[in-house]
């Protein structure tokens, strides 16, 4: 039976909008879900849902693949209120934290 852990990150862009990332991972370093919420704008909006869907089930042990997914989708998306590069970096930091956490869970 695997344990699940939630990692949160929130950010408010100066003179911009708010975004909240919630990453749920298990002790096998798999992504159970990535929820992205906030009051920003994204065009097309479905790309943010697509991002959550494509990351689901991914493994933090293959960071290159995960980052590729994020890069591919964000480059096709116009973000308003949050800088796209900041958006990506926040997700990458979330992955890094997730990897540290699941490694420490595995170590137990």
């Amino acid at each position: 039976m695997t344990t699940e852990v939630v990692i949160d990150k929130e950010y408010k862009e100066p003179e911009g909008k708010y975004v909240h990332f919630k990453l749920v991972i298990n002790s096998e370093c798999s992504i159970v879900s990535v929820v992205i919420t906030g009051d920003f704008f994204a065009y097309p909006p479905e790309n943010i849902d697509k991002l959550s869907l494509i990351l689901k089930g991914g493994t933090l042990l293959n960071m290159r693949k995960l980052k590729e997914h994020v890069n591919n989708i964000v480059k096709e998306t116009v973000m308003i209120g949050i800088d796209s590069n900041v958006f990506k970096e926040l997700i990458f930091k979330l992955f890094e934290e997730g990897l540290k956490k699941c490694r420490s869970m595995k170590g137990k």
């Binding site: 909240h20 009051d39 920003f40």
Partner: protein, 252 residues
């Protein structure tokens, strides 16, 4: 001078969001002309942005107790309290080639009507990027936008006499957001035109100001008309989406 069909309307939140989406689709296939709709939410309703989390944004216990429905919009942006006795919402559906290509510039251009309307009523309103209308630094209007198939849907609020106490109790804001604006509560961030000018404003007066405001700001001829059968039919089909728990709690 651009020509805009003018619709004056009222109904529940699910109907309004369904109709906004229906009009976006129908404009894309040239089944309807460029249109501005000025509408009232009956009953008073909370709408939240497409990306917002319900639990982070809305005081569900309070709105349930007050019988205030919650509807998720198809557009991004923040949460709004649409007071049926104090707020008029506008939606514009227009071909993309008639608005600035840059999103923030287009927010400003289309919101020009609410800014002008507020000034007509005596309030020194200004547009504050990204998407706010403000009076003396406090927000009285917010805009949200969706673009599809060469068409822009922008809708936004005009708080002429909103009950700010109900608004403040209905909505939550992340501490991070409030801190960045240097305020402790939502109440400190918002205002109404009536509050600023110090006298009550009726819905009719607000409506007249909006019609004049949009006409002047957009240099548009507004021609009042009614909704077509195909708009009502498509809106009726889409209304179920906006009533469904699956849509509303897309981001719980």
């Amino acid at each position: 001078m651009i020509k805009l069909r003018l619709i004056i309307d009222e109904g529940d939140g699910a109907y309004h969001m369904a109709l906004d989406e229906a009009m976006l689709i129908l404009r894309a296939v040239n089944a309807i002309p460029d249109t501005i709709r000025l509408y009232v939410f009956k009953p008073s309703t909370i709408t939240i942005g497409y990306f917002q989390s319900v639990s982070e944004t809305v005081n569900e216990d309070f709105i349930r107790f007050r019988g205030i429905p919650l509807v998720r919009r198809p557009t991004g942006g923040g949460a709004v309290y649409h007071d049926m006795n104090g707020e008029i919402t506008y939606s514009i559906v227009i071909s993309e080639d008639k608005v600035p290509k840059n999103h923030i510039e287009s927010f400003k251009f289309l919101a020009g009507g609410v800014i002008r309307a507020a000034r007509i009523l005596g309030a020194p309103a200004e547009f504050r990027p990204l998407n706010d209308g403000v009076i003396a630094g406090r927000k009285f209007s917010g805009q949200a936008q969706l673009r599809r198939l060469g068409v822009v849907l922008q809708h936004g609020t005009f708080m002429y006499a909103t009950n700010i106490d109900v608004l403040a109790q209905s909505l939550l804001a992340p501490k991070l957001k409030l801190m960045s604006k240097g305020v402790n509560a939502i109440k400190d961030r918002v205002t109404t035109i009536s509050n600023y000018i110090g006298r009550p404003i009726s819905r009719d007066e607000a409506l007249r100001a909006l019609i004049k405001g949009f006409s002047e700001a957009l240099r548009a001829e507004l021609v009042e008309s009614s909704l077509s059968e195909v708009e009502l039919l498509l809106a009726s089909s889409l209304r179920w989406k906006y009533l469904s728990k699956e849509w509303t709690y897309l981001r719980p």
